[in-house]
Amino acid sequence: MLFLPEKSSKRRIREAENARRNRFEIIKALADGQISRRDLFKWGLFTAGGLLLWKHGLNPFISSAYADSSIPTGLPRSPLFGVQPFTQPMPRFDVLPRKPNPFDLAVLNPTPTKEANTTQQLLNPALEGVTPGDMGPIEGRPPGPIWAHQRFDTMPPQIAVEISTEGAKANQVYDPGVPSSLNSGIDSTQPFPPRFHPNLPDQGPLALWTFNGTLPPKLLVGRYGEGILLRHHNKLPFDVTQKGGFGRHTLSTHEHNGHHGAENDGFTGAYFFPGEFYDYHYPIVLAGINSINTGATDPRAGSPNGSGGINKVPGDWHETMSTHWFHDHMFSFTAQNVYKGDAGMFNIYSALDRGNEAINDGVNLRLPSGTAKDFGNLDYDVNLMLADKAWDANGQLAFDIFDTEDGFIADIMTVNLVYRPFFEVERRKYRFRILNAAVSRFFKISLSDASPMIQIANDGNLLPSPVVITQTDQLGIAERYDVVIDFSRYSIGQTVSMVNLLAHEDGRLPSSTLSLSQALAGNSSDPCVGKFLEFRVVRDPAQPDISQVPSVLIPNPDLSAIPVSRTRTFVFGDSADQTTNDPVTSFRGPWGIGTDGGDKLNADFGRVSAAPKFGTREIWTLQNDGGGWDHPIHIHFEEGQILKRNGSASNVPAWEKGRKDVYRLHPDGSVTLTMQFRDFGGMFMEHCHNTMHEDNAMLLRWEIDDGGTPFLRPLPTPIPKPQGVTFEPPTEVLKNI
């Protein structure tokens, strides 16, 4: 999507607004089920490849009927209602309450169960396919032993966290986890309105769907060895048409990139309906629990014990993870639902990365955080969620699902879901956990004075060694970069900003990397280029900064002694075919993935495309077969190590030498990686995290046979309905999987 220049004529803006309204009507009719994608094909509005045809009054890229230039019509800029950047404080994330004893009825009612709780309830007849009197289960997790929580008996959850997804409302219980002085003066006792800025309109309950229905975005806090039972209630409207024009009221929550059983992974086809809940069980274990440090003797494989010590846990300490996020993964609606607000972050604490900079036990890395609590101090450890947004003339969140081919690019830069804020800092080191939560936009970040930053993690995994940088690499969608910034170099009263150097003209890939001086000049046609977060240095720290950034963080696991059982190649591109026609599991779109030399195929979550054997290690090569796109590929479940970029190990930069779960494929580029498949089984996914590409069929399912048997037993595919989840055999199992 390209936005009109600010000085466009009124006629041009009116024409673009009409085009947007026309498209909105079609989106709404499509979402409401009044028309189908097949109708759009039939009417000639979509090509066979799923592209919006170049029709005037509909496609934003068609030339104006009145203009004589080839400039795309574009869309009108999101109105700012006179709001200026850097006039509001950036809110810290809202920390989710943690309750011990999940099996106590007073904590969770009903108590969690190993298999899905199929207690029946009367269904709301507004749900699709429901007639008055129909009954359905209270939990939307697929029933039976296949979707039972793995390791539930041996590693039962110890902490309960209860959340909902619902329409926007004021937050009455905001917990930033820090005092107001460390939250830029925000008074968390006051209701926090659902606005992107205090002077912008409230988002309506159909426009913005967030966790608990509120802002700021939510932060889940966990630690190794302390399992969490996340009960997620779907409180979205029962009527599928009540969505403010986009979004889907069915949900599947992916804990990105949890090392959990597949039943807790947020599988794209394991979605649940309004009125249901889904219990996700996150045991929070180190990978390798079956084979490495099984006696839990190594203190580096450990967890904060609450009183300054370490609880040792089994598994490989080299697999310690730190910065996750969780978001909706509803089949073919991920982009819409995440854009609508269904995204949070998850800090995982460990003996190595415990969020306490004072404990000096020889294990704790003492990264910037704080000292008051045993673990999880947020004083100087700050989550940043970056996302571009757009809104309509009424200031309500707007989206365009027709950008299937390229992706969706918006014109308003937000941090923690507010418009270009400021953040007050002390003269000391801070850790920032930066998440790219955009739909299709990449970022590249510098400080406005080009000062050095220290990158300590990528994709939530501490690097083997920190890397000093003055600008980050591209942040692909869903990637996390943890950086340390030392503000002691500034004087009180000074400001310095984070700057985005990457310009987009559409959602296919960045159009140009700008120099810092170009980005600061404010001349870019991309409104999201330039300063987006202003740091204000307000005081000296009350206590000396004793945090550290050690020269060694977490070395990679040594896989050299583990044989490679198999290699696979996945090709990501357009012009894909669809070989199946299941009305629920199969989807048609321009994008697809080719497996091991086969044709590129559109997504079908009923198709099994790969099946690594339990307990093995493989090498996968991911190939972008086009020069016109950048694909950030996410592989679920276990972290991988990049072995080569474009066929050479020397092309892997220092910041990609740790463990990763999102692999950016540059135009025509490839990434070769290795990963293991252990500890849990079930069905997982691999897909482009440009979620418009993902939703338009660039996704596949792969499985780990949980029994470790020599032959795959393809798992039945869940088919969710309000009356209960049924199962059907896989629609297709590719050869030689």
Binding site: P452, T470, S512, G597, N646, H666
Partner: protein, 167 residues
Amino acid sequence: MKMRLPVGPIVVSFLVMILSGLVLLVEAPARAALAPTVALIPASGMVSGQPESVKFSGRAQVSSELVLDTSKFNSPPAVILTFDLSNVAGTGSLTGAKYAIGGKGTSVYRPLVGADTVELTFPFSRGTTMSMPSARSGVVSFALNFDLSTGAITSGTANIAAPSFSN
């Protein structure tokens, strides 16, 4: 004497060519990646500042990878430029101490034009490897000329200076 045409080898060669082509057709992705070209660009300049100014000189390695879009969008050609300044050495003006440059592997995506100026910031510190606490930053401005058909860098220079951006 009658000459015999070497029919057998020709046919075999022809078959091999056809089969090779078939194999290529089957195995090649839709479009193969274009191999990057590498250029060594002379780089020099001074970063003034405290505790001492640092003079840099050496050869920057710049890899250029041509990006062609043959899709219906037919975007103009672009290049991915990847920089390695590790062979550009710094010397302290007061102490004569050595300074090392970091940021190896920094890459930018630029529309392909005949002549482009690419400005890049980089970290550096005293010593032979990057040191975090004493890291400072500089800016290098590359003036690069490109072969428009291959994306290769045909010539260029690089000037190093202290950053002077407003906060």
